[in-house]
Amino acid sequence: MKRIKKVLVANRGEIAVRIIRTCKDLGIQTVAVFSETDRKSLHVRMADEAVSLNGVKSSETYLVIDKIIAAAKLTGADAIHPGYGFLSENALFAEAVEAAGIIFIGPSADSIRKMGDKTTARKLLKGSKVPLAPGTEDSIEDLTEAKRLAAEIGYPVLIKASAGGGGKGMRIVHDPADFEKSMHASQNEARNAFGDSRVYIEKYLENPRHIEFQILADQHGNTVHLFERECSIQRRHQKVIEEAPSSVLTPEMRQKMGEAAIEVAKIGTYYGAGTVEFLVDKHRNFYFLEMNTRLQVEHPVTELITGLDLVREQIRIAEGETLGFEQKDLKINGHAVECRVYAEDPMNNFLPDTGMVHLHRVPTGPGVRVDSGIVDGMEVSVHFDPMISKLVTWDRDRNGAIARMCRALEEYTLSGVQTTLPFCQFVMKHPVFQSGNFDTHFIQNYFKPEHIEIDDPETIQNLAIGGLNAIHWFIREEKSEPSLSGNGAEKQGSLNLWKVRRK
């Protein structure tokens, strides 16, 4: 068994920071890589070493296999952690890393090929006890053939990227007349996001819940699941709020789905951390959706209910260690909720926002964890995903975790860009969410921008009074100190109304 001594993290943002943290816990040296716009990022500051990838866009930097491997060689890293996104589910990358004599902290290239590609995975699972939703077996290029298959499966259908995840390239088609436009849109998005335009078609389940199982497997054939995550709150088919455990699963269903997830992993001869996603329909039937052959964004909720550190487990598995526990040793402890904080304007159809983050003050206190890669003075740019951070709360029960989330959301201060924070607050306080009885259409069914407005009359009036006096304060400061300029730069936290914000 080879102990890993130095890990290069081939990623950016919160996940790079999160991986670095665990490496530090384990006494492992860390190497960050960065695009030019990320020079000031937290992952660069926190890593022991950092190497520029000489470029701005992800296609010039975080997606360039050769540059990453060169950085690992330069620094003598003996392992690479891919995080999520970017090259994390790229079998060629996993192969190139291994070929360079470096440990890839993730599954084998073979497993990525088998399970990372949805159509391949579906073929492999056919005939197993894992239930599959009706859909195409192969990815499809030909429009006429695709249309025929869609009709055969029966509308509504879902067009999905073979290579991808995270909702990118996904389209629901209710009406055959929209099929062609949707297929092209899906192919384009898939090409841009993954460099692979292949798509496939499957039955679109109505009122589904998106429930996924975290699995862990070592290289010696031991596989366990770490229970489920409920990920039904989505906008644009992307998760925004996740929790564990799910409020609909009975212990029996949990056991059945967990066994199915383990079966999927075993069929894929999988090792490392992975996620098996299922859709659960309103009759509580569940269907295999896809497997993500990497760490998920939402892994912290699983960490909070199991007490495990999934990155630590990934590293131990990559070193060749056996899992230190069996399925029967694992218990669900309490409840965890995660809100993804995006730089998006919930008042304006979740349009991504960009700009300088002037102030980023994260909540803390009992039961709160924040995974973030942003700090004061950093730009949220157009080049990368607009996710700013993940806010996660835990308590002994679901109501407690939600209450702590409400508190943490209120405490969270981010200035400079519009964020989904008020939207998350809306969800947490919504009776349907609180009831636990919701599906993936929650946002379209229940959310309107005006719902998140503050309209308590006393508050509004006091904000008017406070705002007026604050403006007066600026004017007074400016008048009383015409040569404020003289030592303006020296004033700690000095303020200027006229300086701030641009798009």
Partner: protein, 164 residues
Amino acid sequence: MKYLVKIKDQEYNLHVTGFLETAENGNRQTIDLVPLDANRFSALIGTKSYVFEIYQQNGEKFLVYKNHTFPLVVEDERDRLVSHMKQVNRETQTFADIKAPMPGLVSKILVTEGGVVQKGQTILVLEAMKMENDVKAPIAGEVSRILVTEKQNVEKNSILMRIG
């Protein structure tokens, strides 16, 4: 000084009667306001505690409270007089001098002398405080004079060009 404050479809006639003292309809209230960092303030109004941020973007003011952004309009008597006058004169206004709203560097001039501009059209970009600020035409008309060149530093309130 008397003000009209508009926030979230509400209008308040507020009278700033002294240092951090405000009255509405004769009810005086002392406000305990302290600046924090990054344009944030802590205000105690009565016993109620509020933390909010104030910022200005493209000439409009915004207040951020608990991650909600509220457009904020503050008009004093002069403003109201001016805005009233403007309305009266709008039809008859024939020219406008464009002044620099802040000291900065003229980074782009987007019109030429003799060119015709629409009201609200961006005519010049002023780089200041590390930002590019669009300067817009307050009226429609012909650009009669341009008094600055690109890359020129200008003082606050210096005349940049004349329209009409």
